[in-house]
Symmetry: C2
Subunit: 365 residues, 2 copies
């Protein structure tokens, strides 16, 4: 992918919703923003990681907060671009590219809109390989790089620039500001030169998102799109069920909640529990863990195979839950410390989904 045009947005949006594991902000809203920006300012050039110069500054753009809020309080054009525009004034010569901070829902599409508007290329990479709820959960942080400068903006016209002590303080400050800004805000975080982005970035994730979208929307007579996808991504089918309980609360700048599913088709007597904090973090079948963060847990519509966000999980919905192995960077000791189940308060050891599922993998067709 050399350019992102309006034709690519639907597939990127579908793939990014899947990789976003339920979070990352609303993909529909993000898609409309990117669509409008490309129609107005033209297609966006795509750079691969190895095309970055060592000194070029890359600005990761995204929104922060509770999806329950940002889905209703949709960001204005001005608000989306403000953090990058404020920071560009600090580094007028060196800002050379935009990047998604996470590959997930709206946060994969907002940066496309931002790149179009600012006339900058977008890097085909992100710093999570999925979406995570907290801002220090990035591969830069895993390698010990701390954000030196962060910018935030809200719908009121407030603009904030801060120099955090480290990534964890950056998250604390950003979350507190997000809260006072009404529960959602826009930000540029983890601004690093090309050398560090090449070292830490998870490459090719915009292209991967597009490919996932293509797979899930293409038709074949022999296999279902979901099964094809599981083969391509080394994924596992965890459960097919109907949501019989869903709860979500907006607290501390997140949407936290849980859903329980009663099995349908071959697993009628079984129950799946899904726990989420913006993103799906833990899946337990009758009490036994099937998959946990940092591995990816994704909810797909049972009929269409389209990925859905945690915001759109509804009582009575029939969904297909799948899991994918996370990028190896997250399966290190540091990665599990930063974004493993214990960090989120689940008292279990992380085990890779392929180990947990072992022989259990069910092939549905």
């Amino acid at each position: 992918m050399k350019w992102i045009t309006v034709e690519d947005l639907e597939n990127i949006s579908i793939g990014a919703t899947l990789l976003g594991t339920g979070g990352g902000g609303d993909p529909f809203v993000g898609k409309l923003m990117a669509l409008q920006a490309i129609q107005k300012y033209g297609p966006v050039k795509v750079l691969q990681l190895d095309e970055l110069n060592d000194d070029d500054l890359v600005m990761p753009v995204g929104s922060i907060g509770a999806p329950s809020v940002s889905n209703e309080k949709i960001a204005s054009e001005e608000e989306i671009y403000a953090p990058a525009e404020v920071l560009k004034e600090f580094f007028p010569e060196r800002t050379q590219a935009i990047m998604p901070i996470e590959i997930g829902g709206g946060n994969s599409l907002l940066p496309i809109a931002c790149a179009a508007k600012m006339g900058l290329p977008i890097v085909d990479a992100d710093a999570m390989g999925r979406a995570f709820p907290e801002s220090q959960m990035v591969t830069f942080f895993l390698k010990g790089y701390q954000p030196e400068i962060v910018a935030m903006a809200d719908s009121q016209g407030n603009r904030i620039v801060y120099y955090p002590k480290d990534g964890e303080w950056s998250e604390k400050i950003a979350r507190s500001i997000t809260d006072v800004m009404g529960g959602s805000a826009n930000m540029v975080d983890n601004v690093f030169p090309g050398k560090i982005v090449k070292e830490c970035g998870i490459g090719g994730t915009l292209t991967l998102a597009k490919k996932i979208g293509e797979e899930l929307t293409s038709f074949s007579e022999t296999t279902s799109p979901v099964n094809r996808l599981l083969t391509i991504l080394n994924g596992f089918s965890l459960f097919e069920g109907k949501i019989n309980h869903i709860e979500r609360n907006v607290e501390g700048g997140f949407t936290k909640g849980r859903a329980t599913l009663a099995g349908i088709s071959g697993n009628k007597n079984e129950t799946l529990e899904l726990l989420f904090q913006n993103e799906l973090l833990l899946a337990k079948k009758d009490g036994a863990v099937l998959a946990s963060t940092p591995d990816l847990i994704c909810a797909l519509d049972y009929e269409t195979g389209r990925p859905i966000t945690t915001e759109t999980l509804r009582y009575g919905s029939r969904i297909h839950v799948i899991a994918l192995p996370s990028d190896p960077k997250w399966r290190t000791e540091k990665g599990i410390d930063v974004a493993g189940p214990k960090y989120f308060g689940y008292d279990i050891e992380f085990k890779p989904v392929e180990e947990l599922m072992g022989e259990k993998s069910i092939c549905i067709d």
Copy 2:
């Protein structure tokens, strides 16, 4: 007063504690900071308002948060200066003077330390003529001037610069950041050019603080220091009593509380209730209002006549409560909207203390 030297600090500290109406941060800690800075960097030149050039930028320096926190988590030298130093980089040529944002406790002495360290003069003025708990409660705000840029710093090394929509948003953002910074922080707020400072500043308040300190520490055979002070400042003696109940809570970046006093000497059967949010805001005798914000309510030690902060009110302490008329800027409709009793949730109309006390003023000697 042309220069502030180490000899002036004790009297400024006493006077600022009185004018601080119980708040403004700990004067003892502030005095030690100013003392150390003047010893290290030399005396501080004092500018009167009319000596400011119209374009000179004046930086008001202060701490923000709950005194209960800042009294125990004492700010480091680096932390005190950081906000002014960060902002000076934005306006290297134009920064010409430091100013106390309020005349109150530690917040009158911190700016002296900051001026000494930065080699800048201090303006003999402030933007409240007393201390108030919220950052939009400044005379700039009364005249419709909004802070365009604010800087904050904490003990961790976090540095924040923000461009608020207006003064009320500035307070919301600052308070939320203060909370995440642990309940106290340092800031530079309401940076304005000399022209606006001359229009809005309440002049001569450092000199007034020093004079109050001189009065309260001088001895005369005929009148008590407190009575002399009441005469000079057109003040009123409200109550002499012993604290028989005190409660304080740190909430939302403030110390909020109430004290009740049982009368001593001539008013044994009477009870005074004092309500505070960092500063003393309301005094009621047996249910009848004697004085309320924006007028100044001050607590003095019964034996020594020295002013005391709300943090040092203790069960069993004997205190003398006095009240002073506020600057006329606060007695306007806008002033009462911004910092009158209703703003703080007390359902009463503001009446000037001289009206409330009327003939009640008691002369004690």
